[in-house]
Structures are given as structure tokens and as C-alpha cells.
């Protein structure tokens, strides 16, 4: 039986969030095609990109000034009006969806399944999701007719967008009740390196770096590899970098081809965010650091000694 699927596309106003491409793969596991929805205001470039998604059958553009910054109240209220037409509503798992999805689910009296890492049976509605910082995988079955899922991007490959736009857009101006929240502004970290989410190579630094100044070593190394930069919570707490660099249970969950953990001990909360990486490489001066139990290549050494040498080696 064909399933009716709606994918909610999260974006930053200019482009689609990287995790959406992984969520498309999940949609295509459920059925050959699906509908998708963009919520926003004045975001043509997002629409242009969305139209090229593989398997997309219909695109709704819900446009309203209150939807410009992804506030939860108007977003959940808008999507809510479409729910009853679908078997599955999918979101990529990221902070935008985490804010909106549970509110939407509650408005519809639905228990959502978030951070799905495997669709076990789409008809019997059986899914797997990580719990306890990814140390345990839970298999759950839903008894609901309409299911709201968020897709953990590290567990699904990306479906690349096609070169041409395939679908027409249905433009909708939602009727929204008065909103009691106001967007004041963003402090978005400007990056001149690849974005942490979706990067092929990530170099992360931990408390072992010792200071903001020394953290420069991580940037230098990352630049040699055209890598994104990440950090442990201890490094963020110590003020070496801002919060959006944090990898882990409560930070970003990523699965690059190669992950370098430098001066990071390997606490389970950190591993939760990177243990699906294809190759993990650790540099730590403590031979007993837990990170060495789950890395592919490790170097027991003082990072201040070896990282500059690595930079030199790579520049050759």
C-alpha cells in the first residue's frame, strides 16, 4: 500500500539544512515519492533548491512573516493543519525541528519518534532510536495511525538533489493566531571553514588545548585538511570556542569520514556525537584515555609537540 509522506524542510532562510538530504533518504525508504513543505518568508533560494529534491511529488510553501525565523508557535500551528492527510510526517533531526516537532505532536495528541536511526518496519511502524547517549538502541513500535519522526542524519546516507526542478509549488498563506513570542536576533557564527554538520573531515579539540590561543593549533591543522572544526563540551565551557562547535549527546551528532579527537578524553557524552564516524583518530598524552579504546588510529603524545609537526608534514 502506498504511504502518504510529508517531509518538513528546515532551512536558514538561504539554503536547506544539510540534514534534510539524509531525511530524503528516509522518505524514499518509506515510499517512492513524498510531499514536502517549506515554512518561511521571502526565501526563494530555499524553494529553488527544494524543488530539485529526488522523489518529490509536491511542494508546499507556507509563507508568512511570522514564519521567517522558525519560531515554534506559528510553525507548529501551520503544519498542524496538514497532518491528517498523511501517514508519516518526517523532519531532519536538528535544533530547528527539535523546537517545533514535539509542540506539533502534542497539538495533534501524537507521540513522536525522534532521532530515528533505522526504519525497521514501515507498515508495522517499528523503529530504532538511540537512548542513553547512544549507548543503547531502543526498538519501539507505534500504535498510532499518523506518525511523526525525526531522522538522525548520522544513520542515513544523503540523497543528492537532481539538476532540474521537478515539481510545482503550492503557495499557501496560513492563517495564524496571535503569537506571544518575538524574534530578537541571531548570533550566528560565521565560518570560513566547512560546516561541522555534513563535513567529510572534522578536527575537534578538547580541554587538553588549554587556552583560546592554543586552540589555534586545531584551526591550523583543520585548514591543512580542509576540515571543519569541532570541540568537546569542556573546550566550550572553558571558552575556547562557542557552543555551536560542541559535538556530543547535547551538541551535534556527526558522522564524517575522518574524525580527529585532539586532547579529548572520550567521555560517553562526547562519543555519542561522533562514534559513527568512519575513521576516528585520537591524539592524547594519556595512554589510558578512554578514547583509545574506540579509535582506529591513536597517537600517545603531547599535542603541543605533534600537532605542529603534523601541520608541517601536510604542508609538504
Amino acid at each position: 500500500m502506498a504511504l502518504k509522506i510529508l517531509l518538513v524542510i528546515t532551512h536558514n532562510g538561504q539554503s536547506i539544512d544539510d540534514q534534510v538530504h539524509n531525511a530524503v533518504t528516509a522518505c524514499l525508504q518509506l515510499d517512492v515519492n513524498y510531499h514536502a513543505m517549506v515554512l518561511g518568508h521571502d526565501c526563494q533560494s530555499v524553494i529553488d533548491e527544494a524543488r530539485k529534491m529526488k522523489g518529490l511529488q509536491k511542494l508546499f510553501f507556507l509563507e508568512h512573516v511570522s514564519l521567517e525565523f522558525g519560531l515554534a508557535e506559528p510553525s507548529a500551528e501551520s503544519i498542524s493543519q496538514f497532518i491528517s492527510d498523511y501517514d508519516y510526517i518526517l523532519f531532519p533531526s536538528n535544533t530547528t525541528s527539535k523546537n517545533i516537532l514535539p509542540r506539533l505532536a502534542a497539538l495533534q495528541n501524537i507521540s513522536p519518534i525522534t532521532d530515528v536511526c533505522e526504519i525497521v518496519d514501515k507498515d508495522d511502524r517499528i523503529f530504532k532510536r538511540p537512548i542513553y547517549a547512544g549507548n543503547i538502541i531502543e526498538t519501539v513500535q507505534s500504535e498510532q495511525d499518523i506518525n511523526i519522526l525525526s531522522i538522525r542524519s548520522a544513520s542515513f546516507t544523503k540523497t543528492p538533489i537532481s539538476s532540474e526542478a521537478n515539481v510545482d509549488i503550492e503557495h499557501i498563506s496560513p492563517d495564524l493566531s496571535s503569537i506571544q513570542s518575538k524574534h530578537l536576533g541571531c548570533e550566528i557564527t560565521k565560518l570560513d571553514r566547512p560546516d561541522l554538520v555534513g563535513a567529510k573531515v572534522v578536527v575537534s579539540g578538547g580541554r587538553g588545548l588549554g587556552s583560546v590561543e592554543s586552540f589555534q593549533l586545531i584551526y591550523d591543522f583543520a585548514d591543512c585538511l580542509d576540515a571543519a572544526v569541532g570541540a568537546s563540551r569542556a573546550a566550550v565551557d572553558a571558552g575556547f570556542v562557542s557552543n555551536d562547535y560542541q559535538v556530543g549527546q547535547t551538541g551535534k551528532i556527526i558522522a564524517p569520514d575522518v574524525y580527529y579527537a585532539i586532547g579529548i578524553s572520550g567521555a560517553i557524552q562526547h562519543m555519542a556525537g561522533m562514534k559513527d564516524s568512519r575513521i576516528i583518530i585520537a591524539i592524547n598524552k594519556d595512554a589510558d584515555a578512554p578514547i583509545f579504546k574506540s579509535c582506529d588510529y591513536g597517537l600517545v603524545a603531547d599535542l603541543f609537540d605533534v600537532v605542529p609537526k603534523l601541520v608541517k608534514h601536510l604542508k609538504k
Binding site: 514535539p102 502534542a106 583518530i281
Partner: protein, 251 residues
């Protein structure tokens, strides 16, 4: 102003969690239990807001078994004024939608102005309950707060999001969920632990709240993920580099 702070009893974050023989539950016997770390931060913030005169009363609530009284007593020792235990089975206590319905019933019945709670329970890692509660109450929400400031009938919140920080303001009443960097919770002193013993802790059942809840998600099983095994560990820089060159991991 009266604030409600939910506290969930969870396995301490330092414990390596094990699966029991039924393959359906984790082992909790003889395991250290704690207040969910995010909830402790929410409570710390509420107590500070009380100390600075913004909030009159701080009430902590836990949904779960009688054992959660231990975490409520800790909450009282941190500075909450009174505590409520909503006693129910684990299936309900671990279902965010059920917990949100319970909290929403309490908020409406007892007239709270503000709910300050953790963004995520570190056992099920759902990150849902606060947003659901706000939806059920039709209140505005501010999630993942790393900074909160009050004016008369409005709060401004810096939210930790994937791209950096997102600043919003909400009218009260509202639900705010907190992130790790909001504050560092205080240590509980012995005199405060003693004092907490005489603070009120009220136990209520779902019947008392006239709620009949059946979670819609059923757990089938638990398993461990494929473990990563340790690979090659080097102490010699040159051998390490040679290996990475050979394996072409740099490319």
C-alpha cells in the same frame, strides 16, 4: 510569581548503563540515581530567581515511582519550597506526551506562571516534554536556554541552536527549557539537607488528577550498538604518520 520545576530521576551520567535479562529494561538495582542534570540547572536558575526576588515560590514535581522522592528531597535541599510526586509506573514516566499531559493538568489546576525545565532527559534523550507542555497549554516556549532575563511580563532568552545563538522574547506565562551552560548548580550543604526533611512533599496519583494515560509507543527491545574496537595505537610519531600516509587517510 510561582514557578514549577519538573525533576526526573535518572541513572547518573557517570554510570555505564547495562541491559537486564529481559532485554527490555536497563539495570537500575544498586545503580547510582540522580536528578537529570538539565533539571538541576533549571532548578538552580529558579532558586536564583527566587533569591533575587523575581519569583515567590519554587515548586518541584517528579513523575514516577515512590523512589523519585529521593530526587525531590534533593530539590528541596537546593532551595525549592515544596515538592509534588505524581506516582505512576515507569512506562508513563518515560513517555514525554503523558508527562506533558500530567504537567499541563498541574499547571492549570494550581495556576503556575512559569515552567522552567530541562531540555532533555539523559535516559531517553527525547528532548520533547517542554515543547509538548507549551503546546498543550498554548503558551509560548523558549527552548535550549543559555541565558534568561526578566522584565515585567516578558522574558528574553538566548537559545543554543546549531548555527550559534538565537535570541527571542516571550510573554509570560511561558515554558523555558534549559541547556547546560545556563549556570553551575550549587552543592547541597548538610544543614540544607536536614532542613529539606521538614519541607512539604505531597504525593498524588493519576486518579487524583483524573487522568487515564496509556502511552502509544511500546518498547520492543533494547540492544547495544555495534561496539567500536580499538585500532592501532602508536607512541612513535614517525610510525603514526607513516601509517596514515599508507592508508591515505589524509585525502
Amino acid at each position: 510569581m510561582k514557578v514549577l520545576v519538573p525533576l526526573k530521576r535518572v541513572i547518573d551520567y557517570n554510570v555505564v548503563v547495562q541491559i537486564d535479562s529481559s532485554q527490555k529494561n536497563v539495570v537500575t538495582d544498586h545503580v547510582k540515581m540522580s536528578i537529570n542534570p538539565f533539571d538541576e540547572i533549571a532548578l538552580e536558575e529558579a532558586v536564583r530567581l527566587h533569591e533575587s526576588g523575581v519569583i515567590d515560590e519554587v515548586v518541584v514535581v517528579s513523575v514516577g515511582s515512590e523512589l523519585s522522592q529521593e530526587q525531590l528531597r534533593q530539590g528541596l535541599a537546593m532551595g525549592a519550597h515544596r515538592a509534588i510526586l505524581i506516582s505512576c509506573d515507569d512506562a508513563v514516566a518515560n513517555d514525554p506526551l503523558s508527562v506533558a499531559k500530567i504537567l499541563s493538568t498541574l499547571v492549570t489546576r494550581d495556576d503556575y506562571d512559569f515552567v522552567l525545565m530541562g531540555k532533555q532527559a539523559i535516559d531517553n534523550d527525547c528532548n520533547q516534554t517542554g515543547q509538548m507542555l507549551a503546546g498543550l497549554l498554548k503558551w509560548p516556549q523558549a527552548t535550549f536556554a543559555s541565558k534568561i532575563s526578566f522584565s515585567t511580563d516578558e522574558i528574553s532568552v538566548s537559545r543554543e541552536v546549531d548555527g550559534g545563538l538565537d535570541n527571542i522574547s516571550c510573554q509570560l506565562p511561558a515554558v523555558v527549557t534549559v541547556d547546560l551552560r545556563l549556570n553551575d548548580p550549587r552543592y547541597i550543604s548538610l544543614p540544607n539537607i536536614m532542613m529539606a526533611k521538614s519541607k512539604p512533599l505531597q504525593v498524588e496519583s493519576l486518579d487524583d488528577l483524573k487522568l487515564n494515560l496509556t502511552p502509544c509507543l511500546k518498547r520492543i527491545s533494547l540492544e547495544f550498538p555495534q561496539p567500536r574496537t580499538s585500532g592501532e595505537i602508536f607512541t612513535d610519531f614517525d610510525l603514526f604518520v607513516k601509517k596514515l600516509d599508507e592508508e591515505e587517510v589524509w585525502r
